[in-house]
Symmetry: C2
Subunit: 365 residues, 2 copies
C-alpha cells in the first residue's frame, strides 16, 4: 500500500481516523478562550460566549472556568444539552414559540436552570408567560433589538419599550434587558437606539440590567457601546476564513481545520478532495472566493462541491498535491462545519490527544 | 398560549416534534420507488438506487423489496451501515484511499458483503489489492469514467482500458465494469467514450459486465446509452426543488418537506423562519433563486440564512404568514437536508405515522 503523504500530523490523523476529519488544536483553543476573556475583562463587560460554534459541554465548561459569566445558546435543544452538563446561566438568543418548546422550557425552569429567552413579538412573550406559570417560576426575558442587521429584533426603541412593558406586566415574567447584535458599521445607530430605549424604559420605571452585544468581528469595537453589560462571541474560540478575511483573526488563531485527502487527479491543474459540502458545507462565507483555505497549498482554490467531492483548481499552485496526500483546510465558516460531525479530533503540539463529542450537534429544535 | 397556525398536519407536527422538522410522505415515497423501478424495468436496466439521498436502511430495504438489484453508496461508512442492516450487493461510487479505509473494506469483504468500489487512479487500485488480499477474497472493482462532468473519473477511453488492465492483473481483484455519470447534455460523447472503451477492453480480453449510469435528471434519457446495464438514481425517491426546476419531478412527486415556523415579523414584507442553513442548508441548487419553495406561500422568497434563521422576503405575497404559523418547504437539494437530521418524521394521508432514523447520517469517512 502506498504511503499516504502530507505532514506527520496529517498522516497520523488519516491513519487513526480516516479523512475527512475535523480537528481542533487545543493550545490555540485555550489561547483564544483566554484572549476573549481578557478582552471582555479589559472593558468591564461580562463574557457570555455563544456555544453554537463548538456545541461542546466540555468547551463550555472551559470557557466558564476561565471567567465567562454564563453561556449563550441559539436553540432550546442546545440549552438542554448544556444544562444537562451543569451549565446554569443560559441566554437563548432566539424567539421560542409553540407548545412543544414551552413544555421543554418549563422543564428547564423547574430544574432550576437560570435560562433567559428572547422576544421580539408578543406571541413569544405570551408563550413564555405560560411556560413560567406552568413551572411555577419567574423567568427573565430579554427584548431582542434590530439596529440594522434586518434579522430578528424589534426595529424601534418605541417597540422595544412596549415589549419590555408587556413582559414586565405579566405574572411569572421579569424584564431582564436587551439583546443587540450590532452591524459592525452601525455602532452610532446602535448607540442611539440603546440610549432612546433606556430613556423610554426609565419613563416606565424599567431598567435593562442586561445589555448584551454580540459578534466576533465586533470584538475589535468591544466597549464602544456605552451601557452594554455583556458580550456574546462564538466564532472566536476557533476562528475561520471569514474571520481571516475581516481581520478579526490571523492564521495562527485558527484552531480548527478539516483534514482531507486528495483522492483523484485526472487532469493537470485539477483534483478532488474527499471533503465536499457534507463536511466543509456550501457556506459562501459572505462572498469569499472558494470554500476554504488549504494551508499547505494556499494558492489552490476549492471551487465547488458535490456532497463528498471538493473540486480543486490547482492551476495557480507552485506545487500540486498528489493522490493520497492529506491536507488541512481552514473552512469559510467554522460553526456550520462543527455541526456536520459527531466528534472533533483534538490535537496539541502536533500530536493527537483524542476526540471530543459534539454533543449539541444537530439540535435544530 | 396562542394556537399555532397552519394546516392541521403542520400544527400536528409542530405540536408533536417542534419545528423545524424534516418530514416525508410515505405514499409519495412508495410511488416514487415504484416509478423508478418501472422506468428501469421498461428499458431492461438493473436498478441500483443511490442511498445518499435517504441514508436509511429501511428505505434501502423497501427499494430492494420492490425490485432493485442492489444499492449504491458514496462513502464506506454508508456501506457499513447498509451492510449491517443486511444489504449484500453494494457499489461504492468513490475512490477509497488509505490504510484506515482499506482495513474497513477488508472487514466488509470478510463478512461476505458483495462490495465493489470504484477507481480512477492506480493508487486506489493498489490499495484495493491490499485490502482484498488481507481479506483473502476476490473483489470486483469498477473504473470510474468522466464523460464531461469534470468531477472524478478517467478522462479518456485509453486511460479506462489501462486502469481496467491494471485491476485485472492484480491478484484478488476482478475488473467488473465501468461507472459513468453522464452530463445530461453529453449523451453522444458518453456513448462514444463507452464504445471506444469497450472496444479497447475487448482487445485485451476484458469485458465490462457492469456499465452503470447515474442521475435522477438522466431518468428522462434512461436507455439512451447503448450498452448500459444498470442505473443509479438517488434524488428520485424524494425529489426536490432542483428536480422541479429541471422538469424531472412535479410538486406532487416531492415526498420531503421541511416544516418550519414563522418566529418573527418585525417589518412589513419580511419575516424569519426557525429554519436556517442548519436545516435547509446553503446549497444554492445549481443557481435557483432563494433557498426553498414554501408550498403555502409560493410567492415568498427565502432570500438568505443564518444557521437558525431563514430570512423571508414576503413582498410579492398575496397573503403573509403570521407569527406562529407553521409552513412546509420543498428544499433546493434534498440529499443534503436529510444529512442534517437524526430522524425523519413520516406521514401518510395527512396523518403522522412515526419517525425514521437517518442511520447513515454524517458518515463522511
Amino acid at each position: 500500500m502506498p504511503d499516504a503523504k502530507g505532514t506527520p500530523l496529517a498522516r497520523a490523523i488519516a491513519r487513526s481516523f480516516g479523512t475527512p476529519a475535523v480537528v481542533i488544536d487545543l493550545d490555540i483553543v485555550e489561547r483564544n478562550v483566554d484572549r476573549l476573556q481578557a478582552a471582555c475583562d479589559a472593558v468591564g463587560l461580562a463574557n457570555r460566549p455563544h456555544i453554537k460554534t463548538h456545541k461542546s459541554p466540555v468547551l463550555a465548561a472551559l470557557q466558564r472556568d476561565r471567567g465567562a459569566r454564563g453561556i449563550t445558546c441559539q436553540k432550546l435543544g442546545e440549552a438542554e444539552v448544556m444544562a444537562a452538563a451543569g451549565q446554569d446561566d443560559i441566554v437563548v438568543s432566539y424567539n421560542l414559540l409553540g407548545e412543544e418548546k414551552m413544555a421543554r422550557l418549563a422543564r428547564l425552569l423547574r430544574e432550576g436552570v437560570l435560562v433567559r429567552p428572547c422576544a421580539d413579538n408578543p406571541v413569544a412573550v405570551d408563550g413564555y408567560a405560560d411556560a413560567a406559570r406552568a413551572a411555577e417560576q419567574t423567568m427573565g426575558v430579554l427584548v431582542e433589538c434590530d439596529t440594522g442587521r434586518q434579522r430578528a429584533g424589534v426595529v424601534s426603541p418605541g417597540e422595544a419599550v412596549a415589549l419590555a412593558r408587556r413582559i414586565a406586566s405579566r405574572d411569572h415574567l421579569r424584564f431582564d434587558g436587551l439583546l443587540l447584535y450590532p452591524p459592525e458599521d452601525k455602532m452610532a445607530e446602535t448607540q442611539r437606539f440603546l440610549d432612546e430605549t433606556r430613556a423610554g424604559l426609565a419613563e416606565h420605571g424599567l431598567e435593562a440590567r442586561i445589555v448584551s452585544t454580540g459578534g466576533t468581528p465586533n470584538l475589535r469595537q468591544l466597549g464602544a457601546i456605552i451601557g452594554a453589560t455583556e458580550h456574546r462571541s462564538g466564532t472566536s474560540i476557533f476562528n475561520d476564513r471569514m474571520m481571516l478575511a475581516c481581520g478579526a483573526a490571523a492564521l495562527d488563531d485558527c484552531a480548527l481545520a478539516v483534514y482531507a485527502t486528495v483522492v483523484s487527479r485526472t487532469a493537470p491543474g485539477r483534483g478532488i478532495l474527499d471533503s465536499g459540502s457534507k463536511t466543509l458545507t456550501a457556506d459562501p462565507g459572505g462572498g469569499l472566493d472558494g470554500f476554504g483555505l488549504i494551508r499547505e497549498y494556499p494558492k489552490a482554490r476549492i471551487k465547488g462541491f458535490a456532497e463528498e467531492h471538493g473540486m480543486l483548481d490547482l492551476s495557480a499552485c507552485d506545487a500540486e498535491p498528489a493522490i493520497g496526500e492529506t491536507v488541512s483546510i481552514v473552512p469559510n465558516h467554522v460553526c456550520v462545519v462543527v455541526n456536520m460531525v459527531d466528534r472533533l479530533v483534538t490535537v496539541r503540539g502536533g500530536e493527537i490527544v483524542g476526540t471530543l463529542e459534539v454533543t449539541a450537534r444537530g439540535k435544530i429544535v
